[in-house]
């Protein structure tokens, strides 16, 4: 089902709680993401950015609350169809997590052939198209250990894209990279944003956040402390904690 264009709450996160053992990470967090928009989560380490993204992809189960996509797919339902969720919502991690025993092309076609049940030929063609689009076609038959960090992360993005998701979650995807390689990965995200994908991204790259975000959410202690357009949050933050955080990272 295609997302309702312009809908203000394509993804609706409502009062989500999550703790690990006795340590609360998300404490009743709520936020809305519009279709085809980019939402950037900022906040200190441990503020709950990664955990929220993982809950949105059902990689973690929530303790309370709901996350609903397009008012029809409840990611947090007890009997949620995990396959359907993960087919529609892709995620890319900080540490790439490519499969080291598979060539780049195999990394990318694993999902399409095994989960989407596409033919080998079809998924290889689609993968090559994606690799070419992001300037990685020469690496198709290399193993991940032959790639730079930036290339690895772009392959990880392509691997998630090969599942043709409607939503992409990016979990600090440039944090493990050499500063010189950050740009190429952010270019990739920029292109996806222009292509109309719905993006939720946790990042420490504030200047990139300013440039790309339709909505910025400042997370602190497991709730959205302040949110608004990039201009609102970065130029005139209302709360002292937000100002404090922005001062420290700039």
């Amino acid at each position: 089902m295609s997302p309702k264009r312009g809908s203000e709450s394509f993804i609706n996160v409502d009062q989500v709680w999550k703790s690990f053992d006795t340590h609360p990470v998300l404490r009743g967090i709520s936020l809305n993401v519009a279709a085809h928009s980019a939402t950037v989560l900022i906040g200190a380490s441990g503020s709950g950015k990664s955990t929220l993204l993982r809950c949105m992809n059902a990689l973690e189960t929530v303790d309370a609350g709901n996350i609903v996509v397009n008012s029809e797919l409840d990611v947090t339902a007890f009997n949620a169809d995990l396959d359907a969720i993960r087919r529609r919502i892709g995620i890319v991690f900080q540490s790439y997590n490519l499969f080291p025993h598979m060539k780049v092309l195999e990394n990318i076609t694993l999902g399409p052939t095994r989960v989407l049940k596409k033919s080998k030929k079809e998924s290889v063609e689609a993968a090559m198209q994606l690799l070419t689009r992001f300037g990685l076609e020469a690496k198709a038959h290399d193993y991940p250990d032959r790639l730079s960090g930036g290339q690895s992360q772009r392959v990880a993005i392509v691997r998630a894209l090969a599942m043709e998701p409607e939503i992409m979650l990016f979990d600090e995807i440039t944090s493990a990279l050499d500063p010189m390689l950050v740009g190429e990965v952010l270019d990739t995200v920029r292109e996806l944003r222009e292509g109309g994908l719905t993006i939720v991204m946790a990042t420490h790259e504030m200047s990139f956040a300013k440039e790309i975000a339709d909505q910025v959410c400042f997370l602190r202690d497991g709730i959205v402390w302040e949110s608004g357009t990039a201009e609102q949050v970065f130029e005139s933050p209302k709360r002292a904690e937000t100002q404090n955080f922005l001062q420290r990272v700039n």
Binding site: N57, L59, L82, D83, R86, R87, G90, I91, F93, S95, Y96, N97, L98, F99, P100, H101, L110, G111, R114, V115, L116, P144, D145, G149, S152, A156, R159, A160, M163, A176
Partner: protein, 287 residues
């Protein structure tokens, strides 16, 4: 003035330094050989001058006895090789299945998990030779219809069960050595937990444990001799028979040489694999 920039693949070593390090390498090699030679001379002198050496030489290193017994030993060794070749694939299958059943979390498979855990606990806890005795003498004594009473069969079965428990633990360690982020990445692509095991975890686990598995198989090659306690004439039993009929222990030395001839290449191979996989993992970095 601009400093000249060397080409990207230029290698420059000071000829004086090169000559010096070449000399050092040559000297190190000479010292090593001399030291080794001196050591061997000392051992030979010490052993040769010991008061019992003549008697030992006669009973353990008798050339005639060696030539006479060796063909028979080799022939008997063929049985060890066959036991090994049959046991090895069975051990791999049992080890893998047991390790996998211990990782299944679904509550329906609790019995499987309990059985697998009990199996490993019991068979890893009892000495292999004791398992051979128990199965080799116990099972035929039951006189169950359809159950073979062959000593070679039960000896091999005991080895398979004993080593299967060890190898299951090796596989389990291998599965544990694959970082959880790999599973998470696979699940995030929508792969089921079975598919994640099959395509992502197991291939990496097997690669990680190949060196320790080879070690276990070297050990198995030697332990085929334990089947001798049940009576089949494999190489140790053959040597034992020869020894007691001639009152000379040379056949034992012959049997040892046969084992060494097989295990040393295998050991070197295992070392090489271990070094290679360590290097691979180093080169892999963050994946």
């Amino acid at each position: 003035m601009n400093t000249p920039v060397p080409g990207a693949d230029t290698v420059f070593i000071d000829p004086l330094r090169r000559e010096r390090s070449r000399k050092k390498a040559r000297r190190d090699a000479l010292i090593g050989i001399a030291s080794l030679f001196g050591f061997v001379v000392i051992i030979v002198l010490l052993v040769g001058r010991s008061s019992g050496w003549e008697a030992v030489q006669k009973t353990f290193f008798d050339g005639d006895q060696f030539v006479e017994s060796f063909p028979g030993l080799l022939q008997a060794f063929w049985l060890n090789v066959r036991i090994f070749l049959i046991a090895e694939p069975l051990i791999l299958i049992i080890g893998l299945l047991v390790a996998l059943s211990r990782t299944i979390k679904s509550p329906i498979f609790l019995p499987l998990r309990v059985i697998a855990t009990l199996y490993v606990d019991i068979f890893r806890g009892v000495p292999t030779i004791l398992i051979i005795f128990l199965l080799g003498f116990g099972m035929p004594a039951l006189q169950l219809p359809g159950v073979p009473s062959d000593a070679i069969f039960w000896g091999t079965a005991a080895l398979v069960l004993s080593y299967g428990a060890y190898v299951a633990e090796v596989f389990r360690a291998g599965i544990g050595s694959v970082h959880p982020s790999q599973t998470m990445a696979a699940r995030s692509l929508g792969l089921s937990s079975f598919q994640t095991n099959r395509f992502v975890v197991l291939p990496q686990a097997v690669r990680n444990v190949t060196p320790p598995l080879l070690n276990d198989f070297i050990s198995l090659q030697k332990d085929t001799a334990l089947v001798a306690v049940l009576g089949p004439i494999e190489v140790l039993r053959r040597a034992q028979i020869d020894t007691s009929s001639n009152f000379n222990y040379t056949p034992y030395v012959g049997a040892a040489l046969i084992f060494i001839a097989l295990t040393i290449p295998m050991t070197r191979f295992a070392d090489w694999m271990a070094v290679r996989s360590a290097r691979k993992r180093q080169a892999g970095g963050v994946t």
